[in-house]
Amino acid sequence: MLGRLGLFVLTLWAAVTVNFVLPRLMPGTPADAAVAKLAQNGPVSEATRAAIEAQLGVPDGNLLAQYGSYLRQVATLDFGVSYTFYPQTVSSMVSQALPYTLLLVGLVTVLAFVLGTLVGVLSAWKRGTWLDALPTLSGSFLSTFPYFWTALLLLFFLGFVLHWFPTTGAYSATTTPGFTLAFLGDALAHAALPAITILLTSLGGWILGMRNAMINTLGDDYVTFAEANGLRGRTVALRYAARNAILPNLTGFGLSLGGVVGGSVLVEQVFGYPGIGYLLFNAVIGQDYPLMQALFLMITVSVLVANFLVDVLYGLLDPRTRR
């Protein structure tokens, strides 16, 4: 337990440091980029350049001093001011976008994991029948669809053609956000299309992962033994085989839970859903480096934390990992 915690802290430090080193390894500075953007409209004077550099905060001091102040910033969650949405602070923008992503992608990911795992158990148990073939084939077919393409198709057919769902944003312009029934219903309707997209594209992976792991455990001696003892089929499948087969899927769940915050870029971009992914995309397009760095750090840290928690849970479920 202590070793795991130590490794977690070490990984966290490494990720935070990568986020510091990455922009410094890359060619050009944010100020260069801003000047280049201005230069498209005409020559840029030295004074303008100096003003831009002062405004964007050119890193001062040697690398070590920069690293020190960066760590201080991270610790206090102060990521400065956004370039593109000046003078909004990065922290306030992130905290506005976060709830949308957490509710939409978080809930759907949990739903997909539970649903996919159950279907996986079923198809392994009914191996060779249509109950196996239908979910495995359609699941693997759907999971090879490009994320954004599925999103576009749903947008076109269910949004534009059938008018079943609103096509953009997180709520209508006419409703005011708040804990009213009208707003919640409206927000749900807006979340429906992105949610269906994520569910459709991620379900296949869970089904296949669980099915294959399940087939492996079904061939193991202790399952044969349980069957030979005359235990009911359902008991064998769920209490014996599935309990052990779920472990690899659980690791994947940890990875995808963390990926929730970042993996939604494409879907949020297609539906104009104002979550973290959408924010990241806009930060990249606008070369908003402070925002980009903060978002990437937040995404990475959430992955790490989710993994750590799943790791702990894994240890509780599988006594073999406890030594």
Binding site: F145, F156, N212, I215, P248, G262
Partner: protein, 313 residues
């Protein structure tokens, strides 16, 4: 991952492997088992079609990929089977030309990512002590850093780098999973008799790893390759779609980017979006189907048909 793969086909079917089997023989055996598998057979045929298209596509295309002398935003018709783009290019021609980029990026990135995975996974599995610990730490770091945001951020820093940057970005973010799978297999092969024998006859560690252990992992390596290539094709399409690739290149990803840019959905020109997306999906599907067969090679319990039942009992 628990270690579901207790051994590759060659080592389980011949318990007394004294020498590493010849690489060609195991490749042949892998292909034969692949063809036995119904899903893999469909995948191989589909894959062959796309490879051929990538190779000779430009000869088959009715027009040039960037020939924009046609009426704009036309619906499908006899002159243009899939219509024209908002810039007046023939959609079918772009589709046929675009195959090359997707196949090339997918296979190059898949191959490079697999090479890195083999190199790191095998050394990680064979060494012990602090070297293995350090490698393990780095691999786990790359494994948990979320790939898509990482790709987007790197691609954003290296703007307009073109296809090479896309490939590099995909390789950087795509090798870690394969390395972990290959490592656990290496660990289990390390203590086998033929490796012990090689060690006692004084072979060097690199020789043992790459001449004795590597040939026993053909199907696992093939599996990582197909997995990495699938991921690469989807990643390339995603990055191109976001406009982070080279938007002047004609590929399936950029076709969707430009279609989205010219609001093809609103004007009802959905073939513009539908066709390239379907091609990406089918190419990725073909690789996934082949991988089903590869899985069956390395794990006899997943095999179909008569052989499967024998292996099961």
């Amino acid at each position: 991952m628990a270690t579901p793969h207790t051994g590759t086909t060659p080592s389980t079917s011949e318990p007394d492997v004294q020498h590493a089997p010849s690489a060609w023989r195991s490749v042949g055996r892998v292909l034969a088992t692949l063809w036995d598998n119904r899903k893999a057979r469909v995948g191989l045929v589909l894959l062959a079609f796309f490879l051929l298209l990538a190779l000779v596509g430009p000869l088959l295309a009715p027009y040039g990929a960037k020939d924009n002398t046609f009426p704009r935003s036309q619906d499908a018709g006899t002159a243009h089977w899939l219509g024209t783009t908002a810039a007046g290019e023939d959609v079918l021609s772009q589709l046929v030309h675009g195959a090359r980029t997707s196949v090339l990026v997918g296979f190059t990135a898949g191959l490079l990512a697999t090479a890195v995975a083999v190199l790191i996974g095998l050394s990680w599995g064979y060494t012990r002590g602090w070297v293995a610990e350090v490698i393990g730490f780095v691999v786990n770091l790359f494994l948990v850093v979320p790939a898509l945001p990482f790709m987007i951020v790197i691609a954003a820093y290296l703007q307009n780098g073109g296809v090479a940057v896309i490939v590099a970005v995909i390789v950087i973010t795509g090798w870690a999973w394969g390395a972990r799978v290959l490592r656990s297999q290496t660990q289990s092969l390390r203590s086998r008799d033929f490796v012990e024998a090689a060690r006692f006859s004084g072979d060097s560690a690199p020789r043992i790893v790459f001449r004795e252990i590597l040939p026993n992992m053909t199907s696992l390596i093939a599996g990582s390759f197909f997995g990495a290539a699938t991921a690469a094709i989807l990643a390339e399409a995603g990055l191109e779609f976001l406009g982070l690739g080279d938007t002047s290149v004609v590929s399936w990803g950029t076709m969707i980017y430009w279609a989205q840019n010219s609001s093809a959905l609103l004007t009802g020109q959905w073939a513009l979006l539908f066709a390239p997306g379907l091609c990406i999906a089918l190419l990725a599907l073909s690789l996934t189907l082949v991988n089903f067969g590869v899985d069956a090679v390395s794990n006899p319990r997943l095999r179909e048909g008569s052989r499967a039942r024998k292996a099961d009992r």
